[in-house]
């Protein structure tokens, strides 16, 4: 077993790397409490049931994008019969605040800020600064 050193060392290294996030959180005293999401005041319901929105809003957005841009079908009929334009800015951001809602959760779950905002405009930033 002259490879013992390498095998054990490699194993240790692997375990260390694999659990790195845990160590990092421990080291930085990361906050594991869910973020305080600012929910819209004027609405009770999202464009789809809460469970679906939580798990699949990215898929919904991609579907919207496909059908609005490529299939000339710009209107979304929600499960409760309401209709919405299939638009990030005009729909999602009419109820939600990008920074207090979308970004906060994405930061928390460690998702990259979606690149959509490179083009789609956050109206809250308006005046002078696009980002």
């Amino acid at each position: 077993m002259r490879d013992k050193f390498w095998i054990l060392g490699g194993l240790l290294l692997f375990v260390g790397v694999a659990t790195l996030p845990t160590w990092r959180d421990w080291e930085t005293h990361a906050n594991t409490r869910p973020p305080a999401l600012v929910l819209p005041a004027h609405a009770k319901q999202c464009v789809a049931p809460l469970d679906f929105m939580r798990g699949s809003h990215m898929q919904l957005l991609l579907d919207w994008r496909q059908s609005a841009v490529r299939e000339n079908n710009p209107t979304y009929v929600a499960y409760d019969g309401k209709t919405y334009p299939k638009s990030l800015t005009k729909t999602c951001l009419s109820c939600h605040d990008k920074r207090e809602f979308c970004d906060r959760c994405h930061d928390y779950v460690g998702a990259r800020t979606p690149y959509c905002w490179n083009c789609h405009v956050d109206p809250a930033l308006g005046k002078g600064a696009a980002r």
């Binding site: 994008r65 841009v69 490529r70 710009p74 800015t89 005009k90 083009c119 405009v121 308006g126 696009a130």
Partner: protein, 258 residues
């Protein structure tokens, strides 16, 4: 390993067939369609077109209302460097828009007359034929040559293909040149190509394109050329019109009434 010339030729032939397989030919055929008179390919159900009335347009020298309306509606950045400019609809002098010889003895003033140019939403768009991702395509239902900014890879093949210079590339970050972006229409980003979409986002909502709406002289007329009773057809049936480079077989849908 000995091989006769005949064998070699056979093998080369087989290789070529492999490369340019039947699928390619069929696809090329489909893309090229039949442009011949009486050809088999039906035109789209609807074909949005525009007539630019040059006489009406000339009544307001120096007017750029259509351009400003478009720029505002679509977040077109004001990039000072000509090399990096983004243009959807813009002005060119008559001798650039039309063949030089047609205007050579025209009065100098009229010759420098600015005429708006934009994407021609061709019947046989070369940009669509060459696009490797389908980021630009001709919409079946109304003939608009569309852009999908989510898919464009920025290879600029469409810019080489367009005979009208109607496509612009984002050489630099456009947001740096947008003082106050309009949230109703997304900006674009570094590295994608863009052009006029005949205001597809307005047309789908039953509105006229922004440039048409903004023209104080009503010099821009927008309508369906496939509808024999439309206003555009009425004008086309009684006036002399020019199109840009019709000899290339692209079938432009912007008409210039002279």
């Amino acid at each position: 390993m000995k091989i006769t010339r005949k064998e070699f030729l056979k093998l080369s032939g087989a290789g070529l067939v492999l490369v340019f397989g039947g699928r390619e030919l069929a696809a090329l055929d489909r893309a090229a369609g039949a442009t011949f008179p009486g050809g088999a390919k039906p035109r789209p159900r609807k074909q949005w077109a525009m007539i630019v009335d040059t006489a009406k347009c000339a009544k307001e020298p120096g007017c750029t209302r259509c351009i400003e309306a478009c720029d505002a509606a679509h977040n077109i950045p004001a990039i000072p460097d000509k090399a990096h400019e983004i243009q959807w609809i813009w002005n060119e002098p008559a001798d650039v828009v039309f063949d030089e010889s047609d205007v050579q003895y025209l009065d100098a003033a009229r010759r420098d007359e600015q005429i708006p140019v934009l994407c021609n939403h061709c019947d046989q768009p070369p940009c669509v034929r060459v696009c490797p991702t389908g980021a630009t395509w001709k919409r079946e239902e109304d003939g608009i040559v569309m852009m999908d900014w989510h898919r464009c890879i920025g290879c600029r093949y469409c810019m080489a293909a367009c005979p009208y210079g109607a496509r612009s590339f984002n050489w630099v970050d456009p947001r740096a040149y947008l003082a106050n972006p309009n949230p109703d229409f997304p900006t674009r980003t570094l590295g994608v190509v863009e052009k006029c979409t005949f205001c597809s986002e307005r047309v789908v909502a039953g509105k006229l394109p922004a440039c048409v709406e903004a023209c104080p002289e009503k010099a821009l007329l927008f309508g369906d050329v496939n509808d024999p009773h439309s206003e555009v057809r009425e004008v086309l049936s009684e006036s002399y019109v020019l199109r840009r480079k019709p000899e290339l077989g692209t079938g432009p849908n912007i008409y210039y009434r002279i």
